[in-house]
């Protein structure tokens, strides 16, 4: 999120696409509905499904799954055509606008209607609402990202905001509501196969930087790896690690995977779950560390699995980062229950036995505070330098002193600081950055320009040259250079450079332009590409997907070869998944809560009444849903108008059944969750994002029949 939950209170227009915040982030609605009621902000909800959020919308746009880019580019085009774009903002702070405009011109209202199914009048109305109500915020979730063109979708959202000039202002911004409670924190420290903490990547310089922070020799770390190549090679992802075991797609790693450790991670959230199940049956070792037995434990049928009881989050402590980039200290409430151990203790035991405890804990005497300090020393790119445990605790201890509207403390020990020190929090005294790219405030007071990450100038394929630095006169107040400037050399590895930049009132990462044209992406400007399993075979030719990617996070990932126009004949219905308010993620915790299980006890599939009648299915009947990959699940039908006549919706929280068979007996005795059901991900389709390899669970196909 570039802004914060509370900042939505200042929005004059709320555009939500691919998000069901009413179920996934109910408390955020407090602020959204406030803006709707008090500012008279239209609430535009774009979603294939009439969600609980859509029930609160002033404008609901039903869109065909997987066509978000087309719709967004259509909006952008319509806004530019009508001369509603923010010309001054684009002139001073945006790069590649002309190139983008040429691409967007293709997406006329007629074309958009053809692709997305959104009537052209509605597109015009939405575009007008966006143009006449500024600043507006754009909010999205997994409905945007979980597509093979997920990264294009997200960029299209960003471009929309750039065109409207809604970036860096209160009430504007691109706000991505993140899922898990600390997914922002875990992402910031990059529990990811393609980067070291704080998005440093896997380049040699990055390794050296972190080795310095850890106080270990880079050569030693290198020696721990199989070879030098593998130090810099992106690893398997959560979405496809099981291919490393079953190898149905060719892997590019010297060895198959033999063991997997699930450390606070559910397996039933991964698509094509029936293939993951094969991997579980094949692995030598499965270790599950969790407060609950999880679906994974029940799915393992071999004697290869260990279940270690870690404590819940309330029996340990540490900082958590909310979606708004705020750190809060999650204090320990009670001592560990039963024989469970905290994750820190388990980690220590592992590290001790692996034989590198002295190196691992070199700078860490007290857990978790010293870990926070180590992160602060290393994570310069995103400015976690100011996140010291004392400061984070101070904010949590004094949360009552922060203003609801601005999130700034009025008086008290945190006077003037923003709640949770939203990163970048450059130094120990920096108040945090409540709104990213806001040039109305000095950098030391939480302002920032766009980052000048990609040099100072770029030549586009048509020969046009453009500066990548902000236009003259555009900079934060108090900046030594009033205008664009490149990044300070060495700022990513030396805190003193950052201090120096701040002293001069400047941003360490420079003052650049936001790019509408990303030359390092497969599609420099987002373009529509039909889903791999498209329900519109006639459009595949015009909007084909990418060529296959042979070494995509160590596994061959099919794109063009997977896109078969004839598939829709056999699998005519579109399959999307989503959340229920009662459950969370894989549901291990919530399905073990008797009250939540009472409220949402059963797996179901939402079916439109027409589809149901065509298949002879009545409310509450069991039906089979089958995927092109051979997955099938038996679920109850819930007949509803939430989905349209081509779509099936499944909530993805359930587990404990597998293709019609109950696995309740496989749970440890007496620990069977109160609610069991078929995992929706058994039938989610093949398809991964070209850049991030996020799974495309929101654009698959399926067929149904009465059970």
């Amino acid at each position: 999120m570039t802004n914060s939950m509370n900042d939505i209170r200042h929005s004059r227009c709320i555009f939500m696409i691919g998000s069901n915040a009413a179920e996934a982030h109910p408390v955020s609605l407090q602020h959204i509905l406030y803006a709707k009621e008090v500012n008279g902000a239209p609430l535009i909800v774009v979603d294939p499904r009439f969600t609980k959020l859509a029930a609160k919308a002033t404008e609901y746009v039903r869109i065909r799954p997987g066509t978000d880019t087309a719709f967004l580019m259509g909006l952008i085009n319509y806004i530019i055509e009508n001369d509603w774009h923010d010309k001054e903002f684009i002139r001073t702070r945006v790069a590649g606008f002309e190139e983008m405009r040429k691409v967007a011109a293709h997406y006329t209202p007629e074309v958009v209607e053809e692709i997305t199914g959104v009537p052209k009048d509605q597109l015009a109305r939405v575009a007008k609402l966006l143009a006449t109500h500024r600043p507006g915020t754009v909010i999205w979730c997994m409905g945007i990202t979980q597509h093979h063109i997920g990264s294009s979708n997200t960029r299209a959202c960003c471009i929309l905001q750039l065109v409207l000039g809604n970036m860096g202002v209160s009430g504007g911004g691109t706000n991505i509501f993140r899922g898990h409670d600390n997914v922002q924190g875990a992402t910031d420290v990059c529990v990811l196969s393609h980067s070291l903490p704080a998005y440093y990547g896997l380049k040699e310089g990055s390794w050296k930087h972190w080795c310095k922070v850890w106080g270990v020799d880079f050569e030693w770390i290198k020696g721990r790896f199989h070879s030098k190549e593998y130090v810099h090679k992106k690893g398997f992802t959560l979405a496809r690690w099981y291919e490393g075991v079953i190898q149905e797609d060719k892997i590019t790693q010297y060895t198959p995977i033999r063991a997997v450790v699930f450390w606070g991670c559910a397996s039933n959230s991964q698509s094509q779950y029936h293939k993951l199940k094969k991997a579980l049956d094949k692995l030598d070792l499965v270790v599950i560390i969790d407060p609950f037995p999880t679906t994974t434990a029940a799915m393992c049928e071999k004697d290869n699995v260990y279940l270690l009881p870690s404590t819940s989050q309330y029996e340990t402590e540490g900082s958590v980062t909310s979606s708004s980039r705020q750190a809060q200290w999650r204090y320990k409430v009670v001592d560990p229950l039963y024989e469970s151990k905290t994750d820190y203790e388990i980690m220590e035991e592992f590290v001790k036995r692996f034989g590198f405890a002295d190196k691992f804990y070199k700078n860490i005497k007290k857990v978790p505070e010293d870990v926070t300090r180590e992160i602060a020393r290393g994570a310069l790119t995103i400015g976690l330098c100011g996140w010291l445990p004392e400061r984070i605790k101070k904010h949590t201890d004094n949360w009552h002193t922060f203003d609801v509207d601005t999130l700034q403390a009025k008086g008290g020990p945190c006077d003037g600081e923003y709640y949770g020190l939203p990163w970048p929090c450059w130094t120990e005294t920096h108040p945090g950055t409540p709104i990213l790219y806001d040039i109305s405030k000095p950098v030391t007071k939480g302002g920032l320009p766009f980052r000048a990450r990609f040099g100072t100038e770029y030549t586009y394929p048509d020969g046009r040259k453009e500066s990548l630095l902000a236009a003259p006169g555009v900079a934060n107040p108090g900046s030594e250079v009033m205008g664009g400037y490149p990044e300070f050399p060495g700022w990513k590895t030396d805190i003193n450079v950052i201090r120096e930049a701040l002293k001069r009132g400047m941003a360490p990462f420079g003052n650049g332009r936001a790019r509408c044209y990303c030359w390092n992406f497969p599609d420099p400007v987002p373009v529509h590409r039909e889903p791999l399993h498209s329900p519109r075979p006639d459009l595949i030719k015009k909007y084909p997907t990418y060529p296959d990617k042979p070494d995509h996070y160590r596994v061959y990932t099919r794109f063009a070869s997977e896109q078969k126009p004839e598939l829709v004949k056999e699998f005519p219905l579109i399959l999307i998944t989503g959340r229920m308010v009662e459950h969370m993620g894989g549901g291990a915790e919530t399905r073990s809560n008797k009250y939540l299980a009472e409220l949402a006890p059963e797996m179901y599939a939402e079916v439109n009444v027409k589809v149901a009648n065509d298949h002879g299915i009545r409310e509450g009947d069991y039906m089979w849903i089958e995927s092109p990959e051979g997955g099938r699940i038996k679920v109850k039908a819930k007949i509803t108008d939430r989905v349209d006549e081509r779509t099936i919706f499944l909530p993805f929280h359930f587990g404990g059944y597998f293709m019609g068979k109950s696995f309740a007996g496989n749970y440890p005795e007496e620990l069977v969750p109160y609610a069991l059901g078929e995992p929706a991900n058994i039938v989610t389709n093949y398809g991964y994002d070209i850049i991030t390899q996020i799974q495309g669970t929101k654009e698959g196909l399926c067929r149904i029949k009465k059970a």
Binding site: K36, E37, G40, P42, A54, A55, K56, A57, T58, E59, Y60, L129
Partner: protein, 289 residues
């Protein structure tokens, strides 16, 4: 209250206010009036039509039970002292009247019925007992006894039904009120069972089954609430009839007709008594020899 009125007014004024705030209109054409109506339908259900009536019914119904019980008690006392119990000169000859099975199911039904009546009355007059766990316990007894009773009632029905069909002379029996309003003993028009017994039989078994069904619905408590209200009404009205006949039966068999109790215990009736009280059956016996 003024504030409530103001709220009401804003609701009514909605279309006017909303004209200026077109953008805020929720997606789709739904007015608050519509929402109000839907919610009423869903949540209040039939309450606006039935609620008040139900309250009046339930708060005033207990008193009928009281009137009935007290009234019958008075009638019994009066009858006892005016006409006295019926005694029939015993010649000593006994005829088998009730088989073992009949007696067995009769007493099973009788005991459970007694429990049902007593516990039922306890629930109705719970206030006098102070409510709480005592009455709650008696409610459980009511439920338990009902399950026992219904089994006996079915068998009792099967055992006796062939002699229980109404006959033309039953009317006459009612006209003379079974001859009980007289000190003299004259034969009354009755078969194996007189009209009063038949009435009790039908109310006790068929009515008992209805009581059981309605009671079961109340025990389950899952039916729609307006159905429950109806069911409760039936249960209470029928209960009144059952209580009345139960008390009459009790009085007749234990006090008013000497030997009646004895005959249900032993299964034999005095031939003289049969001749007087059940002449049609006596005829049949004589014909048979």
């Amino acid at each position: 209250m003024k504030k409530a009125l103001a709220l009401g007014l804003t609701t009514v004024l909605w279309p006017v206010l909303a004209a200026g705030a077109d953008i805020l209109r929720p997606y789709g054409p739904v007015s608050p009036v519509e929402v109000f109506r839907k919610l009423n339908g869903l949540l209040l259900d039939a309450w606006p039509d039935e609620g008040r009536a139900f309250m009046e019914f339930i708060t005033s119904f207990n008193v009928y039970y009281l009137y009935l019980a007290l009234g019958l008690l008075g009638v019994f006392l009066l009858h006892y002292f005016v006409f006295g119990p019926r005694k029939i000169v015993h010649r000593g000859e006994k005829v088998p009247y009730y088989g073992f099975f009949t007696r067995f199911v009769h007493w099973g039904a009788a005991v459970s019925m007694t429990l049902l009546v007593l516990s039922g009355l306890a629930v109705l007059f719970a206030k006098a007992l102070g409510g709480g766990s005592l009455v709650m316990g008696l409610r459980s007894v009511h439920v338990g006894a009902a399950f026992i009773f219904v089994i006996f009632a079915v068998f009792l029905f099967l055992a006796l039904v062939k002699d229980m069909f109404p006959a033309p002379y039953d009317l006459k029996w009612f006209l003379v009120l079974g001859g009980y309003l007289s000190r003299r003993t004259r034969p009354v028009p009755a078969g194996k069972f007189n009209a009063g017994q038949k009435l009790w039989f039908w109310v006790g078994t068929a009515g008992g089954l209805v009581m059981f069904y309605t009671g079961y619905k109340l025990y389950q408590f899952t039916a729609p609430v307006s159905y429950l209200r109806e069911v409760l009404k039936i249960h209470l009205y029928l209960g009144l009839a059952v209580l009345g006949l139960f008390l009459i039966h009790l009085y007749m068999s234990v006090i008013a007709v000497k030997g009646a109790l004895q005959s249900m215990l032993t299964g034999y009736k005095d031939i003289e008594e049969v001749a007087v009280m059940h002449p049609k059956f006596y005829e049949k016996l004589r014909l048979k020899g």
